[in-house]
Amino acid sequence: MDQIETFYDVMRRQGITRRSFMKYCSLTAAALGLGPSFVPKIAHAMETKPRTPVIWVHGLECTCCSESFIRSAHPLAKDVVLSMISLDYDDTLMAAAGHAAEAAMADTIERYKGEYILAVEGNPPLAEDGMFCITGGKPFVEKLRYAAKDAKAIISWGACASYGCVQAAKPNPTQATPVHKVITDKPIIKVPGCPPIAEVMTGVITYMLTFDRMPELDRQGRPKMFYSQRIHDKCYRRPHFDAGQFVESWDDDNARKGYCLYKMGCKGPTTYNACSTVRWNEGVSFPIQSGHGCIGCSEDGFWDHGSFYDRVTDLTQFGVEANADKVGFAAAGVVGGGIALHAAVSALKSAQVKSQSKPTVQNEEA
């Protein structure tokens, strides 16, 4: 096995100057929420540690995660990480194609057994032996199992790999299945979103490459540094929420004033993601800032939880096309009707009993 280069070696070979390299290190520290004291540590790690190889595979998906990734706001981070990844395997981004590409993957797995990170975009459909997604002439699920077997850790990119996303929405005809339900013996990091934010993606991968360990995860397996707060917790429209000032319909005056989108079905209160802090497209904006509610794209099964435009959503996940209020109101109506009927019969019955037992009652009172 030949000597594995360090990150620094790779960067220098890619024509990146020492100055740019240091800039990259401080940028990374900032992106990960680390203090300036971490900059030399990151630099040292990158100079001395052999780089971590990455294999990036694509299952049933739309490639929006890759699209997001290559638009990272910090071009240096993107270039560095991308160039390092493309050294190994990414069937969408790499130069090689066909048999050469598949050979590259086999070669990487062979050379870096137990050391590489497997990044999965999309998910495997399991119905019909996985025939709904064929890559390299084989069902994707086989490729996934093959690549996962010797991986150190797995990153589940996006809602597809993490939860299933649209292809797993009911009735899920292809039986699209999130990665953690297929690969159960490897540490898995979920980076949900449709797509995930570019800076979140590069942040997670840079963390793993530099520190050679997984970022701290929450109970659902998401990196805490990006997924421990709801959109609602850091939303800049939150004061309008607390004030009770809502957009009542699209294009009303309140919408122009930028009031809270709660009544328009905003899922910010139930969605864990970094959109309201990191934002999108180099920090330009995010859905709510553009006047549309959050649709909850980074949450489990977000397609199956009723309309994006209802706050009290239909209980579709329980197979009911009505929301809690409609169900409850109908049930209360039925019970109310029952009570009225019961009361009427009770009154009739007791009147009957009274008239029958009148003499005895008078006797008692006498």
């Binding site: 421990s228 004030a243 209020d325 049930a331 019961h342 009770s346």
Partner: protein
């Protein structure tokens, strides 16, 4: 003025009492069932639940936008949510207090928490009560505490229902409190098990209707029993004493 020599002085009745009244009262047909903590809890809990239902409904469907001041100086929805959380805390503390009282209180204070499903006689009384409500039985039985049907309702709607609302409510509250807080640490496994928090909102919301339906049945049954059964109902929860309208022993 017919002050009978046989009547003990403690039972001395006002002048308008007839011989019949005296005879009835002498038989002492009232029993002290609901102790002070139980009655206090009942009414505080009722008030808290009404506040929770109204504010909870408004949390799902907020009132029309009010523009009283700049957002910084206006806190309308915030106050609605605050009222919900305040009532929630009162209800929860009360519920724990009520559980405590089930241990130290009288026999009837335990009924809400335990169904004697292992007793055949209890099932017979359930059946009797079902028939009474279905108009198939002419006379209801006398109960000092809850009748078995009411006991079942109490158990499922209050003990189970309130536990459900407290668990889901505090999980929602933990989300607002945020990761890292003690409450969130406790709720984290439950939140992870639920997955998408929208589900949590939906089931908490459904729970409200479950409790609303209970309130409707509860109030109707209490008033109906007060009128038609052989014992007092509504006043019992105020005074604590159950009075019986006849002295037949069955």
């Amino acid at each position: 003025m017919t002050r009978g020599a046989t009547a003990p002085p403690a039972r001395a009745l006002a002048g308008d009492a007839t011989e019949a009244d005296r005879a009835t009262v002498a038989r002492r047909t009232s029993v002290y069932v609901y102790e002070v903590p139980v009655r206090l809890w009942h009414w505080i809990n009722a008030a808290a639940i009404i506040v929770l239902c109204v504010t909870g409904y408004l949390i799902g469907s907020p009132p029309p936008t009010m523009i009283i001041a700049e957002a910084t100086h206006q806190f309308v929805f915030g106050y609605i949510r605050f009222a919900h959380f305040a009532a929630a805390m009162i209800m929860t503390v009360g519920f724990f207090g009520r559980i405590y009282w089930a241990f130290v209180g009288n026999h009837h204070s335990k009924q809400m928490f335990m169904l004697p499903v292992w007793k055949r006689s209890w099932w017979a009384e359930v059946w009797h009560e079902v028939k009474w409500y279905a108009f198939l039985e002419r006379t209801p039985k006398k109960y000092v505490g809850h009748n078995p049907l009411a006991q079942i309702a109490m158990f499922f709607f209050m003990t189970v229902g309130m536990t459900f609302m407290i668990v889901t409510g505090f999980a929602l509250y933990a989300e607002g409190a945020g990761a890292g807080t003690v409450l969130h640490t406790i709720a984290a496994p439950f939140l992870a098990w639920i997955g998408n928090s929208q589900v949590l909102h939906s089931i908490h919301h459904l729970g409200m209707w479950f409790i609303v339906i209970f309130m409707m049945i509860h109030i109707y049954a209490a008033i109906r029993e007060d009128i038609m059964s052989r014992q007092s109902m509504v006043s019992t929860m105020i005074s604590g004493t159950r009075t019986f309208k006849d002295d037949r022993p069955d």
